[in-house]
Amino acid sequence: MAAKPKLWYFHGRGRMESIRWLLAAAGVEFEEEFLETREQYEKLQKDGRLLFGQVPLVEIDGMELTQTRAILSYLAAKYNLHGKDPKETVRIDMYADGTLDLMLMVALAAFKPPEEKEESLALVVKKAKTRYFPVFEKILKDHGEDFLVGNKFSWADIQLLEAILMVEELDGSVLCDFPLLKEFKTRISNIPTIKKFLQPGSQRKPPPDSHYVEAVRNVLQL
């Protein structure tokens, strides 16, 4: 029997959170090793397990995968969440890349000085409301289906839900002009695996706080 995937990262969202979401949504149990000291990080590097000296690192199927998008694509394909043909796959990729860009802005904002951080987060909300959410609202409106691509649950739906929840943490009213996204949010949140992940005690991580930022700076010596 295959071992569970093992995730190496800091004890927070960062660039690993989308990977946790995807695994959880796919109903895949996974283990986590949290990087808390510089020594742990240096050992990973010295052992040659980090191709470019960076985390996220996911051990899966005998591979030591790094690079967030490479990991996400592999998992999406493995768990049949990447469309049934290249045209569906490319749509999923376009949507997922867009939402990932938005969420990485949030992750990076945590590391900026207070004023810049405020500005960055305000920009995220603005982009969500004007650039990203209108697109997804229209996609759902145009085909009238439950999921973004091919009338089937995919990686794109998981990413969009994650992004919606993340932006709502910054501005609770962000979905007020997007009725179909509101329904989408409810619908996807109710998928059993996702419902479980959204409950307290799951492996979902909280928004970054100063504690998390300090821990990361310490390990990476930033």
């Binding site: 470019f52 790094t66 998008r69 990729d93």
Partner: protein, 223 residues
């Protein structure tokens, strides 16, 4: 017969160049519609051609694709440059992402404030010789094969060789201690389709100069 892919971007490298390289290396003829004025970009936005209001955009097989990675992955799949199975794809993706990370730093260099530029260049050179080139040299050394993955040309090789040319433009001495990478560069450069692309008169774009930078800033309304 399907029309040629049509690339929408300004007349410079930017985020479209890696797509030009991949199509060229795959032997695929493509057309380009250059955005020359801010109004051209506005028009594309207003007629709904740009999903997230951004270029690159590539019209191919009846779809208007955006997001550089989505476009590259679609092209790679279509032209068999994406490995033979999921595991090979994962390695190709991992290597491609590493190339993209260093490529991004080089891409954004022209936008760096003048007083920070020297420090930025030093940082890029350091990342190149300490982090990225050693990683790829090690991959080639580990299996001794001609290409990064599965003993067959893939998008990873094409992206890496494109990057090696960029590194060489920045500082040729950076490649000095990487014999296997030099070998890969020569080998891929000699593939007929790539050789053709590397010759003057191809659709390959030159390094960004002051004039092109000003044009890009104007079109994209960057201050």
């Amino acid at each position: 017969m399907a029309g040629k892919p049509k690339l929408h971007y300004f007349n410079g490298r930017g985020r479209m160049e890696c797509i030009r390289w991949l199509l060229a290396a795959a032997g695929v003829e493509f057309e380009e519609k250059f955005i020359e004025q801010p109004e051209d970009l506005d028009k594309l936005k207003n007629d709904g051609s740009l999903m997230f209001q951004q270029v690159p955009m590539v019209e191919i097989d009846g779809i208007k694709l955006v997001q550089t990675r989505a476009i590259l992955n679609y092209v790679a799949t279509k032209y068999n440059l994406y490995g033979k199975d999921m595991k090979e794809r994962a390695l190709i993706d991992m290597y491609s992402e590493g190339v993209a990370d260093l490529g991004e730093m080089i891409l954004l260099l022209p936008l760096c404030p003048p007083d920070q530029k020297d420090a930025k260049i030093a940082q890029i050179k350091q990342s190149t010789t300490n982090r990225y080139l050693p990683a790829f040299e090690k991959v080639l050394k580990s299996h001794g094969q001609d290409y990064l993955v599965g003993n067959k040309l893939s998008k990873a090789d094409i992206h890496l060789v494109e990057l090696l040319y960029l590194v060489e433009e920045l500082d040729p001495s950076l490649l000095a201690n990487f014999p296997l990478l030099k070998g890969l560069k020569a080998r891929v450069s000699n593939l007929p389709a790539v050789k053709k692309f590397l010759q003057p008169g191809s659709q390959r774009k030159p390094p960004m100069d002051e004039k092109t930078l000003e044009e890009a800033k104007r079109i994209f309304r960057i201050k």
